[in-house]
Structure formats: structure tokens, C-alpha cells
Amino acid sequence: MPSAGALLQVENLHTHLGGQWLHKGINFSVGRGEVVALIGGSGTGKSVLLRQCIGLTRPSQGKVWLFGEDLCALSSQQLNQVRSRYGVLFQEGALFSSMTVAENVAAPLQEHTRLPLKLRNELVAMKIRLAGLPMEAANKRPSELSGGMKKRAALARALALEPELLFLDEPTSGLDPISAREFDHLLRVLCDSLGLTAFMATHDLDTLWGMVDRVIVLYAGKVIANGPVNEVAQLDHHWIRAYFSAHSGRQ
């Protein structure tokens, strides 16, 4: 059973992929209001794990509890209900390319609520402003936006339904350092004021030091560390040492 207070809990999760075991018994949980980062080398299955937490793919073994519900046991209808309670920011934004930004943000509202058009437009305008985009961006198509603006538009869409939990896949990848820090700051402000819980897969050390409450380290199919950044950074494990010293050259 999931422990009380955990929005997301992963229990003894195994994944068999491409002829080998990618995850060999993963356990962790994310409590309400936490901002948790998942790190690990390329190919350790961060994105796969994230997709399993979202309910897009099923683990080979083990359980994923989201809002206290076992994702594997849910019917597709119940799963869709759970889905309206979290938002996802995909790596490349995954904005619908045939729609404008405003239509993208309105899409989840259109599907899951029955708000009159005027209220919906008001909400869309608010979310776009909340994500730090100028209102002129609302009528643009994703192909006319810069990378940073695309991420912000995708964030506005992820926030459209007032989710309690936000999943982020590499939120700062592909952004220049200045935009990346701005985006981190925006995320932190939003998490704090909207009372969001966030679970992200990331590679960005500055994100870890700047805005994350807790880090979960994935290595060789297992969780090898789970704690605040400054504690994890002190751990004596060769991969963790290599990871946290990877940026020291710039000092």
C-alpha cells in the first residue's frame, strides 16, 4: 500500500527492455509540495521511468501509485480521470504544431471542462501570462517561437487544468544558460505559489543546486541515492563523484 501523504510512489519496479533489465527494483516516493529531481546517466532509463509514472507505459513488475491509486490496476477511464490531475512538460515541448499557443493551452480545458468560451479565454490568457509569455505570443504557432518560449508555452498547457503534480522531462535542455536559469526560477515560483509538486528528469546541475528539494540518483537499474542535493553530492560513489565534478572545470 502507498504510504500516506505520498502523491507518487514507486514500489519495487522492474523494467525489461530490449532483452535486458533496465530497472532492477526501484523504490521511491514523492510527497506533496516537494520538488524532486531524477538524475542518472544516459540510458539508465530516466525517461522510461517517467513515462511509467505518467501511466504511458507499464512496468514489467512492481507498482506505481499515483494519488494513492495503483496505475496498473486502473481502467482506461479511471486513468484518464487521474490524468487530468497532473500536467506533463515533455522534453521538446510537444506542442501541437497545427494550433496556436492559445489553442494549445485551451486544448486540455476543452477536453476536460465545460467552461463557457469567455471564461476559457480568460483562463488561457492568465496561464500564458503565468508562464511568463507576452500576450503577443498567444496567436503564434509553435514553429514561430524560440526554444525558451516553446517550453513556456508547453508549461502553460501543462498547468491549464490546475494540476497538483507536474512531471517534467529535461525542463532546461536546449535552453541557453540564461533562459535555463530563468525557467528554473519560474518553475520554483510556480511550484511554491501554486502548491505544485514537481517530479523531473534532468541533466542540469544548476537546476539541481538552484531549485530542487531532493535528488534521486539512478544507476545500474537501482536508486543509489535519495536525499537533498548537498548530501547526495557528498556521497562516495564513483558515478556521483564524476557527475558532480563534471562542472567544476569552469570555476
Partner: protein, 374 residues
């Protein structure tokens, strides 16, 4: 999760007015909240205080609604006292009030008819120009290959020959065979009425070799390979592979277009010839079964009534069809923009345009050479 339904109370006192929201002020109650705020008049000329002691839940949609509606009633937001909100809610309210401050309504752009017409016309003219430019680049590439045959990508050419030609063989054979059967059957019904059974050979051989097989094969290839060309080149454009080819110092036209153009020009006549044979075979089958014409008689008659020039005329049209299909398909492939929608859009365009082109070219041939090959 059960949520308390929202409520709103407005108490006017001597020193100002107190708004008491209660229950859950969240997105799923937004419509009710809007009604509540509309039905509760708030005086904007006195001090306003919002007392959150009855509030159970609040999210950004709820905050937005309060801020927007109060502002619409003339309340200056910075003068509003917020009481009994917890720290998180205060953060949220301040963030949203601040963000909504700089709000400008998105403009709805609606253009008049004349500018729209002009823009469309300019677009069409541009498309025409780009088509000529594309054609010119292909001619340039062909000339270059003719001068230095080593530039021709033989491996790509053979791959394309296989996919365009060999792999299309079964479907072309089946379709032309069936058309031969159907045509001979319907014609057979007519010639039987006049007792002119043997003339079925004249009719079928002329129709199949001059019109049906070339046209049908071209249509099949346009739908099959033309669409594939556009989708392939378009997808490569989306993933920037075409830019990669250009940065390697290669010409995308040389690498992508010429092999496809050549492959389709080489294979379409061959496929059409197979189609000729299958169509005639199909009709001989029907002639045998329906009209009691033996195979020997059928092919003896065929030898005397079908001059080789008719077959040649039918085959001579096909390289022109092929060139049109390849040019349209490749140009549309290069015109794809970098989003998922436009690949589908241009693939559709390719199929429609190349079918129109094939039939137009065919009618031009019919008008220009009414006696051609007869």
C-alpha cells in the same frame, strides 16, 4: 474528493466593505463563481477587505476570476486588504495579480477581402516562380550528371528502381489484368449483339495498349511512389537531414531527386508494358469464356490488328507522366515546413496534383496525336 460548493457574501460596514468568499474557489466551480461575482455588487469607492476565513480551497483560476471581476468593477487591486489567507494563498494571489497587471488582450486579426486576395495571388505567383526555379535546378543537375556520370548515385538509383518498379509489379499486374477482364466483358456484351465477336480483339488491344494500361499504371505509381517521395523528402526536411546533405557539400537534388526521377522514368514504361500484356491476357480469358474465341484465334487476330506503333505510342507517353509525377512529388517534398502537419498536407497535394497532371498530359497527347500509332 468532495468539495464544498462556493459561496460569496458582501457585508458593508461604516469603514468599508468586507467580501467573504466561502467553500472551494477552484477551476471546476468556475462558472458558479462567475455568477456569484456577477450577482454580488461590490462598491468600488470604499475600502475593500477580503476575508478568507470561510475559504476551504483556492487555485489560480479562482484567484484570476476574483482579480479580473473586481478590476472590472473598478476596484483598485492594490488597495484591497487580504485577511486570513495562508502564506501559500497570499503568494499565489500576489503572483497572479502581478502577472495579470501587464495584461493586454490578444488582438484578433481579421483581414479585409482585398488584402487577402492580394496575398493569395502573390503566394500563387511565388509558388509558380519556385516551381520554375526547382525545374531549373533539376535541369542543371541533369546536365552536370551528363557531363560527369560518376556523380550519379547508383546505389540510391537501384534502391529506388526496386521500390518504384519491382515492388509495384504485383499490384500493377493485378489491376491491369482486372481492367482487361472487365473491359473485355463489357465490350463482349456489345459485339455479341452484332455477331462481330472477333472484333473484341481490335477493341481491347487498342484500348488497353493505348490508354488503359499507361493511364492506370501512371495513376498507381503516382499514388504509390509519388506520395512516398513527398513523405520521405518531407520527413528528411523536418529532421534537417537535407541541410546535413547540403553541408556535406552534396547537392540534395543530385542525391535525392535525380535517382527518384530516373527510377520512375525508367520503370514506368516497363511497368506499363507488363500492364499491356496482363490486360490483353485478361481479355483473352474473357473472350475464350464468353465469346468462344480460342486463344490461338485471339492472338492470331491480335498480331494482324495491333500494330507495334500503337504499343509504342502508349509506352511513349509514360516517361512524360513519370517526369511529371517525380517533379511534383519532389518539389512538394522540399516545400514541407518543419512541422508534423505539413508532411501530410503536401503528400495529399502531391497525389492530387500528379493525378491531375497525368490526366491532363494524357488528354494533350490525345488531342495532339489523334491518329498516333493507329
Amino acid at each position: 474528493m468532495t468539495r464544498d460548493s462556493p459561496s460569496l457574501e458582501c457585508v458593508t460596514a461604516a469603514d468599508g466593505c468586507v467580501l467573504k468568499p466561502g467553500g472551494c474557489w477552484c477551476i471546476d466551480q468556475l462558472e458558479r463563481l462567475d455568477d456569484l461575482l456577477h450577482s454580488t455588487p461590490v462598491p468600488h469607492d470604499c475600502r475593500l477587505k477580503i476575508d478568507a476565513s470561510g475559504l476551504t480551497d483556492l487555485d489560480s483560476a479562482g484567484v484570476m476570476l476574483v482579480v479580473n471581476r473586481l478590476r472590472a468593477q473598478g476596484v483598485v487591486w492594490s488597495n484591497v486588504d487580504l485577511a486570513d489567507f495562508n502564506a501559500h494563498q497570499l503568494d499565489l494571489i500576489h503572483l497572479i495579480a502581478e502577472r495579470l497587471d501587464a495584461r493586454a488582450q490578444p488582438r484578433q486579426q481579421r483581414s479585409a477581402l482585398l488584402p487577402l486576395l492580394g496575398r493569395k495571388a502573390a503566394e500563387q505567383a511565388q509558388a509558380l516562380v519556385s516551381q520554375f526555379v526547382f525545374f531549373g535546378r533539376i535541369v542543371e543537375a541533369v546536365v552536370e550528371v551528363a557531363r560527369r556520370p560518376r556523380l550519379l548515385r547508383l546505389r540510391e538509383l537501384t534502391t529506388q528502381l526496386e521500390t518504384v518498379g519491382l515492388n509495384a509489379l504485383p499490384i500493377v499486374m493485378l489491376m491491369t489484368f482486372l481492367i482487361g477482364v472487365v473491359f473485355a466483358f463489357l465490350l463482349g456484351v456489345q459485339v455479341q449483339k452484332f455477331g462481330a465477336n472477333i472484333f473484341i480483339v481490335d477493341g481491347v488491344s487498342l484500348a488497353v495498349t493505348r490508354e488503359l494500361a499507361p493511364l492506370l499504371t501512371a495513376i498507381l505509381v503516382a499514388g504509390r511512389s509519388g506520395a512516398a517521395f513527398t513523405a520521405q523528402i518531407g520527413a528528411m526536411k523536418v529532421t534537417e537531414e537535407i541541410d546535413a546533405i547540403a553541408t556535406l557539400g552534396l547537392s540534395p537534388i543530385q542525391v535525392l531527386v535525380l535517382p527518384r526521377l530516373l527510377a520512375i522514368i525508367i520503370t514506368l514504361p516497363l511497368l506499363t508494358f507488363v500492364g499491356d500484356v496482363m490486360g490483353v491476357l485478361g481479355s483473352s480469358l474473357v473472350a475464350h469464356a464468353q465469346l468462344d474465341i480460342t486463344y490461338y484465334t485471339f492472338f492470331e487476330r491480335l498480331k494482324s490488328v495491333l500494330p507495334a506503333s500503337t504499343v509504342w505510342f502508349g509506352l511513349a507517353k509514360t516517361p512524360v507522366f513519370a517526369a511529371a509525377i517525380a517533379l511534383i512529388a519532389c518539389r512538394n517534398g522540399f516545400a514541407v515546413q518543419r512541422d508534423a502537419r505539413s508532411v501530410g498536407e503536401y503528400t495529399t497535394k502531391t497525389v492530387v496534383q500528379s493525378l491531375v497532371a497525368v490526366i491532363l498530359i494524357d488528354s494533350l497527347f490525345a488531342i495532339a496525336f489523334p491518329e498516333g500509332g493507329l
